[in-house]
């Protein structure tokens, strides 16, 4: 999922690009949420005694529960969410999706084994791996969002790409997803842990693309190439090139073409017919709906509709649902506090000492690596 090891790489090389904040500090902002990611989280996390929540006739309701209560929580914190759903996956993702299907099958087998052996932790572990967001889940969620008065957007292709385009167009402040490739798609701001449960007390991580690029001294194109080198959903990466090596190669050669030309083919095997150019194009010009044509409107919730939808068959408690609807109405009414940074422009001076330290650390590791190689060379 996403870009392998990118979050850690950014934390190591551009720590000033990451900020941690409480959820309430994002009040007054419109935020695009990667719906598939959040649904997946809910299916995994919203459970009772290890099993997903279900309605009277056994249909899963974890995702509905999650969407309902966590959206209310966002609105109560003054955040205006807009959910963005995935469209059809791009052609290039098919091999990645096949891999995922394989893994799912393996998990299925392991689950059966665990069930036979009566290994409870095993059952829990593998059943979570089997979780998949189906089209029923997404349709149900869209219906729920409509009743809640929260807007959603159907992306023609990848949701992260659509989110990124909306942030760039100034329609929303940030993309909320766990998938780091939102940055590769060019989302200026990425928020992680937005839809996590309140009980986990996870601070919201905020990644600023501009400071990432500035501190890593990279252009956006170089950054995209770096992400492909790290490993994305659309093509394989070069075997044996990990995060540290990837960033070194990018710094030295500046583009994938140059890297392939200069790479020591004895040590590293570039995949045959490596479709990196197509992957790059997907990141630069993804298939999206023009954000200017999207009209985002938050309207009053339909309380009776919500009660009808959630209670009854799906077995939600009516009082709680009505309570939730009241919270939704309350969050909408009245004036909202303005943000000072929307009046004055931020001329952020990145913490010099922190950036220098990061640089020094990078240099040091570079030297250490070089040292290793030369030793190895001598041993031969």
């Amino acid at each position: 999922m996403g870009i392998t090891g990118l979050a850690k790489l950014i934390a190591d090389f551009a720590p000033n690009a990451i900020k941690e904040n409480e959820i309430k500090n994002h009040f007054g902002r419109k935020i695009a949420i990667d719906a598939s990611m959040s649904l997946y989280q809910f299916l995994i996390a919203v459970r009772s005694e290890g099993a997903q929540l279900t309605s009277a006739d056994g249909e899963t309701t974890s995702h509905i529960m999650g969407t309902f209560y966590r959206t209310i929580r966002l609105l109560e914190n003054g955040i205006k969410p807009v959910y963005v759903f995935d469209g059809k996956p791009p052609q290039m993702k098919s091999s990645e999706l096949e891999k995922r299907a394989d893994r799912r099958q393996e998990a299925q087998k392991s689950l059966e084994k665990a069930e036979e052996a009566g290994d409870a932790t095993g059952i829990d572990k593998f059943s979570k791996r089997l979780v998949k967001v189906t089209s029923t889940h997404t349709t149900e969620c869209k219906e729920l969002l409509k009743l809640m008065g929260v807007p959603f957007v159907e992306a023609p292709c990848e949701a992260e790409a659509q989110c990124a385009a909306m942030v760039k167009a100034g329609k929303v402040y940030a993309t909320a997803t766990e998938d780091m490739d939102a940055l590769t798609f060019g989302s200026p701001v990425l928020l992680r842990h937005m839809t996590f449960s309140e009980a986990r007390k996870m601070p919201i991580q905020e990644f600023q693309l501009d400071s990432v690029l500035e501190t890593m001294e990279m252009s956006r194109d170089e950054f995209i190439d770096l992400c492909i080198l790290l490993g994305c959903d659309y093509c394989n990466s070069i075997k044996g090139v990990g995060p540290k090596r990837a960033i070194e190669l990018m710094r030295q050669y500046k583009s994938l073409e140059n890297i392939i030309e200069n790479l020591d083919t004895k040590k590293y095997q570039v995949p045959e017919d490596w479709p990196y150019k197509e992957a790059r194009r997907l990141f630069i010009e993804p298939e999206i709906t023009d954000p200017e044509t999207i009209d985002l409107k938050w309207i009053d919730p339909d309380e009776e509709g919500l009660v009808k939808f959630l209670c009854g068959n799906r077995g939600f408690n009516e009082d709680r649902v009505r309570n939730g609807a009241k919270k939704l109405i309350k969050a909408r009414s009245g004036t909202t506090q303005g943000r000072l940074d929307s009046f004055f422009s931020v001329s952020s001076t990145p913490n010099k000492r922190k950036a220098e330290e990061a640089k020094a650390a990078a240099e040091a590791s570079k030297k250490a690596k070089k040292g290793n190689y030369s030793k190895r060379g001598r041993a031969k």
Binding site: K19, N25, Q337, G338, R339, L340, D341, F343, S348, N351
Partner: protein, 259 residues
Amino acid sequence: MFEARLLKSGQLKKILEAIKELLKEATFDCSDSGIQLQAMDDAHVSLVSMCLKSTGFDKFRCDRNLSMGINLESMVKIMKCCSNDDIMTIKAQDNADTLTIMFETSNQEKMSDYEMKLMNLDQEHLGIPETNYSCIIKMPSTEFARICRDLSQFGESVIIACTKDGVKFSTSGDIGSANVKLSQNSSIDKEEEGVTIEMQQAVCLTFACRYLNLFCKAAPLSPQVILSMSGDVPLVVEYQIEELGYIRYYLAPKIEEDD
């Protein structure tokens, strides 16, 4: 090397009291013209801008520009160790990671010094444009504090409406509503007790009481407060610190929903 000597440590005590509830930590930027601080609160609703001129100190020396990241809570703890008319000296080496604060009693019988660790803070400076405010209201700082305190019992936000005749503070909440109106009066003998309004255009804006109350903690610094307002821009609440400089608070207004 940075060194600043202040004859009344009480002044700095009051300054810290006036900002410590908005900011947990802040960077003090020292240069040969003085000490400056600019920081937003965590929620990015308000901003504190403080300036202490070098000429206001008894002695001031700053060879190289220095940014000191200070945990305000720790500094408040240190400032509690002195009495208001102790003489205080702040010292730091260039590129130091500690700050030394010394107190001496006026009769020089007792000397104490405290060392405090400095921090590395992410600075987010805001460019504040020069604004010609439509209304500038001067009033006694205790009166302003009183009004904010009284009105915050009734509602979360206060509407400040300024017209030619005067300025009106109003709020409403679950129990009812409250209105306080002040008219211009400069006839009183003491200038600082008067209310003056310079107005080009009537303004009416809504602000969160909670923040106004936090700003009022600066009232002991100055007998007068200056409120500057214009339509749809942040309010400025300014307290002049005698001979030393000023503290300005900026507060983003509450806005009506647009969709």
